[in-house]
């Protein structure tokens, strides 16, 4: 095996030789440099393989002595792995760097680059304290040198600050080293570690170690003493930034890893000290990054934050499922995940030349129309956010589990909060890059032209244009070098992800999600048209769904699989109406459906969470495709991931209390926890996903601004995930929480208020998709209410409502999709009179709204009957009354919907509108037939649902023929249907018999106070249809929730503003901050003043 010394020597040697090599010509020299790097990579990879196999470390002593006299270099498997990744990233970085370098700097840059590499290797391998200092300085000097090659003139200022700070850090480190040496008499880390409990436990020793660790921490750029580092990231060329973040920082972390045993041995104060430092370093920059206007600076904040997280992970023994038992696996994976992702992002900033960040319509949509780059960027961002299937996810999971298991609740909060902030700014960046060029990223509610003018262009939904046509962003060619670097990094990430995924122990369903997405992504790459993809997806999903449930008994799991897969398959037919290609659409839909299915099949909390996250991600990328969905998808991502993080917290708390938590899977009550807080967090998480009142502000715009087919899927299928989770966690909610009030009672009230508020808000929407979105919110409220009853009838109702909602909301959204497709507007008052042009759509909407509003004889009434019976049975009288009231409200907005679109006056320019395409109609009529069937024969649906609920509750209703009888009342859907047919036919026949000659006249042939109507626009009563309702309720209808969240957002902004003002840009301030940091560590170590 190659000795570690060789690597150091080779780096140094090559750096010195490079000027000679350069004489061979620039290209040749670059190639040789790359070859050398490749050889390094081969070496380190070789080490990794053999060391993992053997499990021992590779040691080399220099200068012919043995330790402690000599400087010892040592490589463990972890080190080797890190070095491999660092080398590979360096390889990628070199490609990128040499291409971007100016002539003036070219050769020198390579030399400095190799010196930096040398320093990094050294930092990782050395086991000598002073040698650490040397390598630190070597890295530092090479970084300063590299910095000065940047194009941005401000880099000197930044570099100067860096030098001051790094100089101070060196001083601390040296002082510390000196103290340690004085106390121990050796510089070998192994010796010091051994001697630490005795020799360094004295105040002097601790003082020395304090200097030492502060020096190391400063080098790790911990907030709040890291302004200089941020400035550097901002000013440096992105390539250099990538090196700094990926290579240098990674190596520095290893110093801490080396020193940690010494610290831990010397004094118990150091572990909390480093934990606090790590927590601060993680949380503060996340907050500071919120308002950044420079992407590089934002990445800088993110980098330092990530290192903070790694520092935390180094200290906390992780107890989660993945990588259990492998020492340092969590920090290492976090670190490497960060290194690769961050380098990628820096290179993307370089490739697109786009250094803007923040949120606003003027920002460039620089990734639009560059699918490959977008995928790479998305992977990097997701990996950085610690989302599955990227390695960081598993590490974060373990870390959080470890935190909970260790009882570090405060740190848990810090990690989750920091992660959420990171989601906000990184997600925002990604969304702004990939948004449609027309989108000014302000759309979170309906848009109505100020003059009520008919303007087609304005209101055309995203669906009308699609993603593929958008190429407004000037897509300059990406340099070859960047392509190679990004490709390499992405491959690295992909490989790591696959490895981590396979090692994580998650089951097949989760893997199938990824395989599905990947398969359809391949179809996209092969430029297969959308229709073909849709057919493949329909066939595949049908086959998969059938094979998943065939033969299985009807349980919650198979029931929901049927619901998810069946609902999605039917709606996928609508995609056949869209010609051309839509990159990613089918892949993401398939991914979403499969992840929903995976959710049902999950057998451990980890699997549940992975499936949940995958569902969130796929749906997020579906939502963001909408033409004006930027602002909406920011909300969607933020709230969805907040929900996920809450769930993570809940799971970690529950697992900490009960290691057997959540194993089993797919049955009611799997996720039952007896920890009250875990139950509350779980409920909150689900409530966010269900758009419960107060947490709903993401829902309307996300559903409405997504593409039309996506809206339909999201509203009808996706929204049921929350319901599934409620059932999975069912047992958690019944236990009394405080003052004898159980969580389910709170849930019930939240449910009914959501139902009412959603309906109220739907009343006043002009935009049809917003109406339906709010309607979904309201309907989900009903489901929560029914579920919260915790009774047999309640649960049957919840499931019944879920099925019913899937059917009618799918129908309505698809019908609306067809109408929007044909009329080119989403504003209801711009439609009207379409019944004659689109009769089939009308029938579908009519049946849909009858089903929603619960008017007998259609199936909706079954849901209402069950609901009120269940509510009154449980003594929830007021809830029952409120639910009935909101069902009246539902009737109102639904009538408005059908009236404004189909009845009233048809606009002259809609005279030639044709019926929606068959592909859009077919799924609607499939649903319609199902609705009619279960209306005629309610037992077809209710009985299976009873079977599903049976394991939890004994049946409380009985059947007599078609009559379902509860303790309160009865309902015979079949008889009602016949009576209705009877009472309908009798008057109809009478009318046909007695009516005189009937003339079919047009809509303008109305009595109009002896005038004639002027134009259809001025005759169609649709705008502000329920103005009087608004008037009656007055201030009650003010957007309180919106205001609250705006307040939260503004507060976060203020906090961020305040925090970032700390980084004044003055090196002297920074120096002072570093001194204060030292003082602070001293205070923490002392345990206060």
């Amino acid at each position: 095996m190659v000795s570690p010394v060789v690597l150091i020597a080779a780096s140094l040697g090559f750096a010195f030789l490079y000027p000679l090599v350069e004489r061979l010509g620039e290209r040749a020299a670059t190639r040789i440099a790359l070859l050398v790097l490749a050889a390094f990579a081969g070496t380190t990879a070789g080490w990794t393989v053999s060391l993992i196999g053997s499990g021992v470390a590779l040691t080399a002593d220099t200068a012919g002595f043995v330790a402690p006299l000599s400087i010892q270099l040592q490589v463990t498997a972890v080190d080797a792995l890190a070095m491999t990744v660092v080398t590979l990233l360096a390889l990628a970085a070199l490609v990128q760097l040499t291409e971007r370098a100016t002539d003036r700097w070219h050769g020198k840059q390579v030399v400095l680059f190799f010196v930096l590499l040398l320093g990094s290797y050294g930092l990782i391998m050395t086991r000598d304290l002073f040698n650490v200092f040397v390598f630190m300085e070597i890295s530092g000097i090479s970084v300063f040198g590299l910095l000065s090659t940047s194009r941005d003139g401000r880099v000197f200022e930044a570099g100067f600050k860096y030098m001051v700070a790094s100089g101070l850090a060196s001083v601390f480190f040296l002082i510390g080293t000196a103290f340690v040496y004085r106390s121990v008499g050796s510089l070998s880390i192994a010796d010091i570690t051994a001697a630490a409990p005795v020799a360094l436990a004295s105040p002097v020793g601790v003082m020395g170690l304090l200097f030492l660790v502060t020096g190391i921490l400063i080098e790790l750029k911990p907030a709040p003493a890291n302004g200089w580092a941020i400035d550097t990231y901002q000013a440096a060329d992105p390539g250099i930034g990538a090196l700094l973040s990926a290579v240098n920082a990674t190596a520095m972390v290893f110093v801490l890893v080396r020193v940690m045993p010494i610290l831990a041995g010397a004094s118990p104060v150091f572990v909390p000290l480093v934990l606090i430092a790590g927590a601060g370093a993680f949380l503060i920059p996340q907050a500071q990054a919120l308002l950044q206007e420079s992407f590089k600076r934002m990445l800088g904040y993110s980098s330092v934050a990530q290192i903070g997280l790694v520092v935390l992970a180094i200290v906390i023994p992780a107890a989660g499922v993945p990588f259990a038992g492998v020492a340092l696996a969590v920090p290492l994976v976090l670190l490497l995940n960060h290194a690769v992702a961050k380098a990628t992002l820096f290179w993307i900033a370089d490739a697109t030349g786009d250094d803007a960040s923040g949120f606003g319509g003027s920002l460039p949509a620089s990734l639009r129309g560059r699918p490959a780059l977008l995928v790479v960027a998305a992977i990097a961002v997701l990996a950085l956010l610690g989302l599955p299937p990227f390695p960081g996810f598993w590490a974060k999971w373990s870390l959080v589990m470890g935190l909970a298991a260790g009882g570090h609740i405060g740190l848990l909060v810090v990690v989750l909060l920091g992660s959420l902030l990171e989601v906000v700014y990184l997600g925002r960046w990604l969304i702004m890059r990939m948004r449609h060029v027309d989108d000014d990223a302000t759309v979170v509610s309906q848009r109505i032209p100020a003059d009520f003018a008919e303007s087609r262009a304005d209101a055309v939904s995203g669906a009308a244009s699609g993603a593929s046509d958008a190429s407004g962003a000037a897509a300059g060619a990406i340099p070859v070098g960047a392509t190679v670097s990004l490709g390499l990094a992405t491959l690295l990430m992909a490989g790591a992800s696959v490895a981590a995924l396979l090692g994580s122990g998650v089951g097949m369903p989760v893997l199938i999600v990824l395989i599905g997405v990947a398969a359809f992504a391949v179809l996209d790459v092969l430029r297969i048209p959308l229709r073909l993809q849709a057919i493949v997806a329909i066939a595949g999903l049908s086959w998969w769904g059938v094979s998943a449930v065939s033969g299985a008994a009807l349980t919650l799991q198979s029931g929901f699989v049927l619901l998810f897969v069946g609902g999605a398959v039917v709606q996928l037919v609508a995609l056949l109406a869209r010609p051309g290609r839509r990159a990613g659409l089918v892949a993401l839909i398939v991914g979403m459906v499969l992840s929903l299915a995976a959710l049902t099949a999950a057998t451990s909390p980890l699997e549940v969470f992975v499936a949940w996250e995958l569902m969130t991600l796929t749906s997020f990328f579906l939502v963001v495709r909408g033409r004006f969905a930027a602002a909406a998808s920011v909300r969607y991502l933020t709230f969805s991931l907040a929900s996920a993080l809450l769930m993570l917290a809940a799971f970690s708390l529950a697992t900490a209390a009960n290691p057997a938590f959540g194993t089993g899977g797919g049955v009611i009550g799997t996720l039952t926890t007896s920890v009250p807080w875990a139950a509350v967090l779980l409920a909150l998480s689900v409530l966010i996903k269900l758009g419960a009142i107060g947490l709903h502000i993401w829902l309307p715009s996300s559903y409405a601004e997504a593409e039309d087919e996506v809206s339909s899927l999201a509203s009808s299928v996706l929204s049921k995930a929350g319901i599934l989770l409620l059932f999975l966690g069912a047992g958690s909610f019944a236990a009394p929480l405080f003052a004898g009030v159980a969580l389910n009672q709170v849930l019930g009230w939240i449910g009914v208020i959501t139902a009412l508020a959603g309906g109220m808000m739907a009343l006043f929407q002009e935009d049809i998709k917003y109406t339906l979105a709010y309607s979904s919110m309201s309907q989900l409220g009903y489901m929560v209410l029914a579920f919260a009853l915790m009774s047999h009838l309640g649960w049957v109702t919840a499931l019944y409502l879920a099925v019913n909602h899937l059917l009618f909301k799918g129908m309505l959204f698809l019908a609306v999709a067809g109408i929007v497709m044909r009329t080119g507007t989403r504003l209801m008052y711009q439609m009207g009179g379409l019944i004659k042009r689109m009769p089939f759509s009308f029938v579908s909407v009519l049946v849909g709204i009858i089903a929603v509003s619960g008017v007998p004889p259609l199936a909706g009434f079954g849901g209402k009957w069950l609901l009120y019976t269940a509510l009154i049975e449980q003594g929830w009288y007021l809830q029952a009354a409120l639910a009935l009231f909101s069902s009246g409200i539902a009737f109102l907005y639904l009538f408005r919907l059908i009236h404004s679109m189909f009845l009233g006056q048809r606009k002259t320019h809609h005279d030639t509108v044709t019926e929606a395409p068959a592909a859009v109609l077919i799924p609607q009529f499939v649903f319609l037939v199902i609705i009619i069937a279960i209306s005629m024969f309610p037992n077809l649906l209710i009985k299976p649902l009873q079977t599903i609920v049976e394991p939890a509750f004994a049946s409380s209703v009985r059947w007599e023929g078609y009559t379902v009888i509860s303790s309160l009342g009865y309902w015979n859907g079949n008889a009602v249907m016949y009576v209705v047919i009877g009472v309908f036919l009798a008057p109809l026949l009478w009318l046909l018999a007695v009516k005189g000659r009937t003339y079919r006249v047009e809509q303008f042939n109305i009595v109009f106070a002896a005038e004639r109507p002027h134009t259809p626009q001025s005759t169609h009563y649709a705008y502000n249809f329920y103005g009087h309702y608004q008037k009656a309720f007055g201030r009650l209808l003010d957007p309180w929730v919106e205001r609250f969240w705006s307040g939260v957002s503004a507060t976060a902004g203020t906090v961020s503003q305040t925090l970032r003002a700390w980084n004044t840009g003055n090196p002297q301030t920074y120096a002072l901050q570093i001194l204060l940091y030292l003082f602070l560590t001293y205070l923490v170590a002392r345990g206060g003043l």
Binding site: I835, K836, L846, G854, V855, P856, F861, W865, I872, G875, Y877, L878, A880, A881, L884, F885, G888, I889, F891, L892, F895, I898, H899, L903, G904, Q905, L968, G969, W971, N972, A975, V976, V979, V980, V983, F984, P987, L991, V994, K995, G996, R997, T998, Y999, R1000, V1001, E1002, Q1003, N1005, I1006, V1007, T1019, H1020, Y1021, F1025, Y1026, H1028, Y1029, K1031, A1032
Partner: protein, 310 residues
Amino acid sequence: MTQMILTKALYTVISLAVITNYALILIGTMARIRAKVQGRVGQPFYQPYIDIVKSNAKRTSISHGVMFFLGPVFRLAGGLGTYLFIPAIFGSVIFSNFSFSGDLLLMMYFIFFGQLGMALGAGESGHPHSAIGVARGLAQMTAFELPFVLSVVALAAQYGTLSITEIVAAQQGGFTHWAAFTNPLAMIAGMIAFLGMSGANPFSVVVAPQEIPIGPPTEMQSSFLGMLQTNRAIFNGAKMVLFMNLFWGGAAHENLLVAILIMVVKTFLIYLYVTIVGASFPRFKTEQSIRFFLGVPTVIGIAAVVLQMV
């Protein structure tokens, strides 16, 4: 089986004939009583019949489309259905109608059936006033629905059932057993809601003839109008019978004719109450009536429900 169906059909026809004729005569009589109060001769008590015949005798009619055509059919079907889901006379086989198909909840939701159909028909007429009337009507409907629902829930809680027959059964044995006296708060809330339901003053803004000529049926004429007039009678009858059943002990006697007489008297009084209130108060604006219903009557309803809970 066939015989059973035929018998049921016959009973249905009898039941419908009784309620239709009774309600028509009631409307005519009430108009005449109102005229007398105003010092007029007033229209003949059979004027509603003439009007319906006249409407149906129109030689031409116009239709704005399928939904316009079907709107009155829906409306009448809603009225018929509402009546047919209520057991009109307690204990009578002939007048039990189709109450076996569902309970109070079915009836409450079936009211929407006719409203929806009519609203659709009115909507397709393309007349803005129709749409305005519908918007007002629906808004007002949801508003009075709240006190009504509260009173119904209070009743359901009181009697532990949602079956109308059982609610009536529980009220037998003297007027002190009537829900009106055992649960007066629910009765008050329900009877106030009934004012809104009947659409008389002060809640007649839906049809406001001067402002939005006649509201939803602005475009309805000829046979369509005739159906609406018929429905007005049946639907009114159904609602009065419902309220009689819910709060006023229903109509029960071993002798069917006496039972019908009881029904006639009780519904007459209920209708008289609506007429008196209607004659005494001016019309509310929509938002005023919404606020009204969501105010005092709702509070009374909540009180009724809370009384059942404690």
